[in-house]
Amino acid sequence: MKEGWEVIIGMEIHAQLATETKIFCACATSFGDEPNENVCPVCLGLPGALPVLNEKVIEFGAKAALALGLNINETSVFSRKNYFYPDLPKGYQISQYDKPFSSDGTLTIMTAERDESGRAKEWKPMTIRIERMHLEEDAGKNVHEGLPETDKYSYVDLNRAGTPLGEIVTAPDFRSSWQAYDYVNHVRRVLQWVGASDADMEKGNLRCEANVSVRKIGQENFNNKVELKNLNSVRFMQKAIEFEIERQIAAHEAGEIVSQETRLWDEKNNQTRVMRSKEDAHDYRYFPEPDLQPLKITQEFIERAKSEMPELPDAMRDRFMSEYELSFNDASQIVLDKSLAEFYETTAKNSGNPRTSANFILSELTRELNNANKSASDSPVSAENLAELIKTLDAGKINNNQAKEVIVEMFASGKDAATVISEKGFEQISDTSAIEKIVDEIIKNNENQVNAYRGGNEKLFGFFVGQTMKASQGKANPKIVNEILKDKL
């Protein structure tokens, strides 16, 4: 960023809660069905239809709120947000306004600036204020392509209308695009972790918006902020914020006014462009939804939800660092995915070697999983089997390169470690008497070299090692071979 300037960013994230049915009706929330299949009088906004709240929305909402450090409010109120758009059949969205489901959270995330090549510099903790997470229904989908006369018409699919969302709003606490980037990734991960949302940006069940303004360092008041939308991936969001920082600083320095407006990220041209200006900003006229009672949450419910919370990824990372002496980077990599973290812990415990467990999981296993597009929970190599392999390696029965080869084969065939090792003939000969026999034979057959070695030509030691290994077809344990040779020569 240009010297002397700072950026102020606030984030809004819409996360689809992982329910089977919509928030106020029993239509399925499934993705990818034929258009307008999963609709009913409630989500079509037909006259007389009445909303009834889905109990799972409360449960997933509570999990999400707790995972984000928010306080769950004992009473929250659904309100109507009024506006006209074809994807909103009722002419209002049922949302929450002055009494949200949860509020006043603080969340600590890990964040790092990146160098030119996108590599993280130094990871540091950062605490941000989360103002609220309220519950609301999603709108339908407007379609502008792939149907007749799209120059004259738009098309509406209401399958998504009424899907439950949690809208998570932060205070304007971010001071760089990478902080915002790390925040969104953090939210995505904890929502998946507690099972509150699939949080998949590609499927649109996690959408984010960034409010961005810049000001001179030392300036007290804020300049106009720009709302960035159409950020279809975390990377696009980060790029859009960077673009916006440059654009706004240039405008301020040229004495132009940065107007308060909504801009879209145009990924083809790598720039933001105006979607709507403040002139047609909405006046939503919120008022309490008369068809729904205020949502009451008991203390018992909150306590139970808290006690059912799993260990969150950051806590698990810190524990792995202290309990298993992993580096910050390795532990962070492992807790990127809950099933991988569970896989790791089982492997580390069963093998008794947390360090090697981390190495194999982060390199060989992760590579194989990525190639097969699988998660650790459906890995053909079980954590128990990987632990067996590590124990075999630690016992000196196979070497490191062989172990790596065995993992690949275990992954491909689904066979256990012992089977693959014997099939590949990798089992090392550690039986001292068997090796002694080979060594005796070699000493007998190489009298000249033995005499030369005993006469002081120590370089010949390697020759004997080579001969012994060759005679054992590479299976003799090199450490034992060395010991026996030294002894006998």
């Binding site: 379609v143 738009s154 509406v156 009672q293």
Partner: protein, 93 residues
């Protein structure tokens, strides 16, 4: 009362003559409702949801189990214009 603004928010087209007619009518409606301000409600909880204390006991949540939906054919039957399984509407942004 800004009648034009209210009309715009409600997506209604109104003529100047209608504005002249509605302005005093709406002002008198608001003045009528404003009588409520004469009451001291500082100790009264706002009633939300429209139910009495007894009625609130009927408050319920739904189990998260899908029911059959209307399906595309029924959903689009009453639409003024439907094409390719979609509601067809005038072009929006």
């Amino acid at each position: 009362m800004d009648v034009r603004k209210v009309a715009k928010l409600a997506h209604l087209e109104i003529t100047d003559a209608e504005v002249a007619m509605f302005e005093p009518q709406m002002a008198s409606i608001v003045a009528y409702v404003e009588q409520l301000n004469e009451l001291d409600t500082s100790n009264v909880e706002p009633m939300l949801g429209g139910l009495t204390a007894e009625g609130e006991k009927t408050e319920t949540a739904r189990v998260d189990v899908p029911h059959e939906s209307l399906g595309q054919k029924s959903a689009l039957k009453e639409a003024p214009s439907a094409v390719g399984g979609h509601f067809q509407v005038p072009k929006v942004l």
